[in-house]
Every structure is written in C-alpha cells, then in structure tokens.
Amino acid sequence: MGSKKPAISRRAFVAGGTTAMTAIASGLAGASPSFVEQMLRQRFVELSPEDLERITSEMERDYLQKYGKECNVGTSKAQPGVLFGYALDLSRCVGCRRCVYACVNENNQSRDPQIHWIRVLQMDKEKGIELTESDPYYDPELVPEPDSFYMPVACMQCRNPPCVKVCPVEATWQEPDGIVVIDYDWCIGCRCCMSACPYGARHFNWAEPTVASEELNPDMHYLGNRVRPKGVVEKCTFCIHRVREGRYPACVEICPVGARKFGNLLDEEGEIRYLMREKRVFVLKEDLNTQPKFYYFYAT
C-alpha cells in the first residue's frame, strides 16, 4: 500500500470536527454521540493505537447495551512471514452447506435479510465446472446427489484483487498476510467492488443487519466479524479473528469430510504447500489474472 500524505492534516480536521459535532449533537437533541462520531470516523489505517483502543471499547460498550453480551473487538495485525492460503477438495465436498452456516454463525452475518459469504454451487458431473448451468438453491432430502458435484465459492483473497483498485475511497485493501478486508466505517456503499468482483464474494447490507443476542459471536475483529452497519459491503476474511490467533477458519473446522484445507503459503512444510506439490491445484477464472490464494483440487 503506497501511503499518500494529504496536503492538510485530515486527522486534525476530522478530529476537530468530530469533537465539535459530537458536542452539538449531544447538546441539541440528547442524541447518541456515537452516531455523529461514527459518521466522522477516520480510516482504520490512520487511527493511532489510542484512538483504536477508545473506538473498540466504545463498540464493546454499544454491543453490551444492544445485545447484553460482553464482546471483544480485536485489532490484531498481520504476523510477519505469513501469507494465508486455502485449498478445497472438490472430490470430497458433499454439498452439505455446513460451512455456509458455520460461517454465518462465526462471522455474525445478518440472519434477516440473509447474508451468506459462502455460496455452494451444485454442478452436473457431465458438464463439469459450468457456472451458468450451476444451481446455488439445490434443496434435496439428501446430499450428495449421484449426478452432481458441489463447488463452494467465497472470497478468493486475490493477490491482484479487482475489488480493491476500484474502491473510490480506499475503504478496502489487502493486508500483509494476504487477507482482503473492508473498513466498515469508511465504506460509502457505492458497490463498485461488487461489480468488479468476478466471484460474487462481496455482499451488501441492503437493510439493517439482524443477529439475535444469543447467536451473536462475541469474539470479534475490527476488520472482520464485528456487527456491520446498514449500507456497507462485507465479505469473507478467512475468519481474520481466528487465523491471526493461529486457529482455523470456522468453515475448515466444521467440514465433515475434511474437504477444506488452510495454512501459510510461505511455510514450505505446511499443508497447503504439500497439496500444491503432491496434487494438482487450479483457481477459478484464472484468465482474469486475479491470482487467487484460494485453490481447488481433486484429491481422489
């Protein structure tokens, strides 16, 4: 990320504005100061550690009030020497969609309207991978169906992400460990990134997202699964709050057939590099040069 220095100090400008506006708003209508402050919040990448500390504890207070739950909004940074990669065994996937719902629960996706970061496509074995003939709404009694195979699709965490360059306000970027993240407090909701993404991986909060208190996952990350506001875009972050603590993403953990593999692409001895050496991997829509870090393979 090239850092551009603005000609005038944006921080000073916005900080001054925030204080003044907060004072006005709370003085006038007794309105929650957090609304105005949220409106004038700075970009995540420009926040000082103190600001970040203050903002995350405010968020935690808000969530406690709204959901009656002690939450932790983490801000952990990428670890050096780590580049996350994913591999999915198409020969094993049975299309049970447990990953879809594990993801929803883990990442506090809106239940109504429903948002799914993972879309599992049912495909015809005779046609092979053929997106226009695929069906994301299959609903039989039992999976897998004999003539079908299943292809789960989520964010490919591209090395060359088209969604990032089109954003008019730099509200989305690639972290040093390769995860493409969104600053939900900076996104203006123009949805340019959704047009640019070739994998349908980005989702918009068309309405105020709803998550029941008892279903809220309190283990959160600023750039990941914290509760999103209405009118912004969200996407898979490889469970950033888990993987930066050395845990697997929820979808990897839940998969009943072990079709999902995850690890550090820079670790020669790691599972992902082993798969790349021993199996043959491919990526979706390789002709677009997005260079995903999400690989598919057939183990058997």
Partner: protein, 415 residues
C-alpha cells in the same frame, strides 16, 4: 461590484417567479413529483436500499442506469459548442448557451442519482480530495467524481458570466469565456469516457468489458442530448421572441444522424463479435435480446430501443423528413426513447444478469425507485426551466436592467 452582483441575483430571482399559468402549472407538477421523490427517498434512508429491487446479484440498476444516460445528455452540450465556436457558425452560436444550461441540469441529476444509489450518503465526504480520501489514480469512480464536478463548475462559470454580463447589458469577456468554452469540449468528452471506463474496466463483467464501450457512449450521447434541445428550440420559437433559425435546427438534426450512424455501426460491430464468436460471454447479450431460461423482462425494451434508433436515424438522414417538423419531432422522441433504454436499462442490468456465478436474478425497479427517479428528473427539469426562464429575457434584453450608474469596467472586451 458587490452591489452589481446583488442586483444580478435579485433581478434573476424576480425573473424566476414571473410567468404565465402554463409556467406555474408546470412548476407545480414538478414540485409534486419532487415531494413524492423525497418521501420515497426518506423511506429508503430509513429502511435501507432493501426498498429497491437491487440485490447482491444485480447490485447496480435503475439509479446507475439513469446516471449513465444523463452523463450522455450532459456531454451533448459540446455538439452545439463545436460548430458555434470552433467553426464559428453563427446560427448555432446564438443558442449554444442552452446546451450549457442543459449540461448543468443534467449534471445536477447525475450527482443526485449517484447520491441516492450509495448506501451511506452520510459518508459522501469521503470522496472529497484532501478532506476525505479519494482513491486516485486507481479508481475510475474516483476520476468520475473529479471530472463530473469539474464539468459542472466549468459550465456554471460560463453560464453565470454570460448571464451576468447580459443582465448588466455589457458584452461578455471573450478572452475569459471562449477558452472556457473550448475547454468544455474535451471536458464533455472526458465525463463520458470516464463513465464508460468505470464499466469497461471490469473484467468480471464481459458485457461491459469491451473497448468499444466508450466510443459507443459518445456516439449515443451526441444523439440524445441534442434531441431535447431541438424540441426546446421550437418551444422557444413559439413562446418567446428569440428566433432560432430553421437552418440551425436542421443542421443539428443532420449532425445527430451522423452520430446515430456511428452508434448503430458500433452496435452492429459488437453484435457481430458476440454472436459469431459465440462464447460464454454471449449469455448477457442473449438475455437482453431473446431471454434465457424464460428470463426475458428486458427483451421488448431491447428491441424497442433498436427500432426507435433505426427509425430515427432514417428520419434524420433524409433531408425531407428532418425538415418536416412532425417527423423531426417524432425522430427526437424516438432517439430519446431509444438511447434512454439503451443506457438506462440495456447496459447496466444485462451486464449483471446472469451474475458472476451464473445466477439469474431478474431485476425490475420498485415503485420507490421509480418515484425517487421521477423526483430527480423533476429537480433537473426545474433547474433547467428556471435557468431558461432567467436566460431568455436576459439574452433578448427585455429585462429591466439596473440604471448604468457606473461606467462598465475597463477590462470589458468588445466582441
């Protein structure tokens, strides 16, 4: 100086409120449509964009389509400026200012359509350079923000200078305004090119990812914008004592037929490439013109657009029909309808249908979207009407100019 500006502002405001019953009825209807739009937008602000029929599969639609169409209308002012100032063709020169007025109104509508489309209008300030964080040079949408606002400022400057000078019955400063007019030509091209690049730059959407898109945008814009002006000129001819020469109107119609020819030619080139190569990418074109798997909401519109455009092309090409007021006006309406469908419906929606993973979500706008859209168009018509209302008497010199107490500034150039 301050007093003269004050006189200009109050004098213009007076002109704004003078008018016959037709003017007042027109403005009242527009006001109702604007109010209806504001109410609908209020609901959208409260509940979110869920009140539209846009979803993750078709995440841009009616609003952005209208935006795209109106960028073309805004760019069309240039069609009057080129013959007027580059080729010094006098009959058009007198009326070029109406092109500028139309450009201002269209840009206002463009900016409003973008504003109602974004999920967080409260954060629109993030787009401001220096204060926000405009992502240049990477983001084409970022560039679009820059060129659209620059074009608006440019046209406002030109128009205000013209009107201010006319109000005080002094000649405009040619050294100041003619370079700006000439600058508005590449600026008009740039707003449409950059808007086309927003789409054309997306490899994820093969329907848009074509190098022919920007030229097509320009060609269709040079048809739709003047179509509105030709009708306006006839209204002016009837209702005011501004006399716009018939030959000026016919010349513009002739230029429009050339633009429509290029538009149709480029369209044919695209259709050939899509159908002959017959790749996966054809599915969007097929969805538009014949429907796929029973999804065919756009098919009648797509064909209507082609028919309108071809008929209008013929009407404007033949000297006999472009000089006949009935067929000329019919041609204007057909062009307007044809290009509105082409840019407003048949560009954005099929680009996203099926979506990137092959899903068909068939989009049709909700009543809320239509009401918001109608409200924005009404604001645009209001701006245009008011600007014309002020400009017409000033150009004719029939307004009550303030007494010349002070001699005109020495820097005024004779024209």
């Amino acid at each position: 100086m301050a007093r003269r500006i004050f006189q200009f502002v109050t004098g213009s405001a007076r002109l704004m409120f003078q008018g016959g019953w037709a003017y007042h009825v027109w403005m009242t209807i527009l006001t109702f449509l604007v109010l209806s739009g504001i109410l609908a937008y209020g609901r959208q602000l409260r509940d979110g964009l869920i009140v539209t029929n846009m979803r993750d599969q078709v995440s841009w639609a009616f609003y952005i389509g209208n935006f795209t169409f109106l960028v073309g209308v805004a760019a069309a002012a240039v069609l009057l400026v080129i013959p007027a100032y580059v080729y010094n063709w006098k009959p058009i020169r007198e009326i070029a200012i109406f092109g500028e007025l139309l450009a201002i109104s269209a840009i206002v509508m463009c900016l409003l359509f973008v504003t109602v489309d974004i999920g967080r209008p409260d954060r629109a300030w993030h787009l401001l350079p220096f204060i926000g964080n405009l992502n240049l040079p990477a983001s084409l949408l970022g560039w679009d923000v820059v060129v659209l606002n620059a074009y608006l400022v440019l046209n406002l400057t030109i128009v205000l200078h013209f009107l201010y000078s006319a109000y005080h019955r002094q000649p405009y400063k040619a050294k100041f305004v003619v370079p700006l007019l000439l600058l508005s030509i590449p600026a008009a091209v740039s707003i449409h090119t950059v808007t086309a690049f927003v789409y054309a730059g997306m490899a994820s959407r093969p329907f848009w990812n074509a190098s022919i898109l920007a030229p097509r945008f320009l060609a269709s814009a040079f048809c739709s914008g003047p179509a509105i002006l030709l009708i306006l000129f006839q209204v002016l001819n009837r209702t005011t004592n501004i006399k716009i020469k018939d030959e000026a109107i016919w010349k513009i119609a002739e230029l429009m037929s050339y633009a429509m020819f290029i538009n149709l030619f480029l369209f044919g080139a695209e259709i050939f490439k899509e159908y002959y190569s017959d790749t996966h990418h054809l599915i969007h074109t097929r969805y538009l013109y014949s429907g796929v798997h029973g999804h065919d909401a756009l098919v009648p519109f797509a064909w209507a657009s082609i028919i309108c455009s071809v008929v209008a092309f013929v009407l404007f090409l033949l000297p006999a029909t472009r000089r006949n007021w009935f067929t000329l006006n019919l041609g204007c309406l057909l062009i307007y309808a044809g290009v509105y469908i082409e840019k407003g419906l048949a560009l954005v929606i099929p680009g996203m249908t099926p979506d990137t993973l092959g899903e068909f979500y068939e989009y049709v706008p909700t009543l809320t979207e239509v009401r918001v859209g109608a409200g924005i168009f009404s604001i645009g018509f209001m701006v245009f009407t008011v600007l014309c209302k002020i400009a017409i008497p000033l150009i004719q010199g029939t307004h009550d100019a303030p007494a010349r107490s002070a001699p005109a500034e020495g820097s005024v150039a004779a024209v």
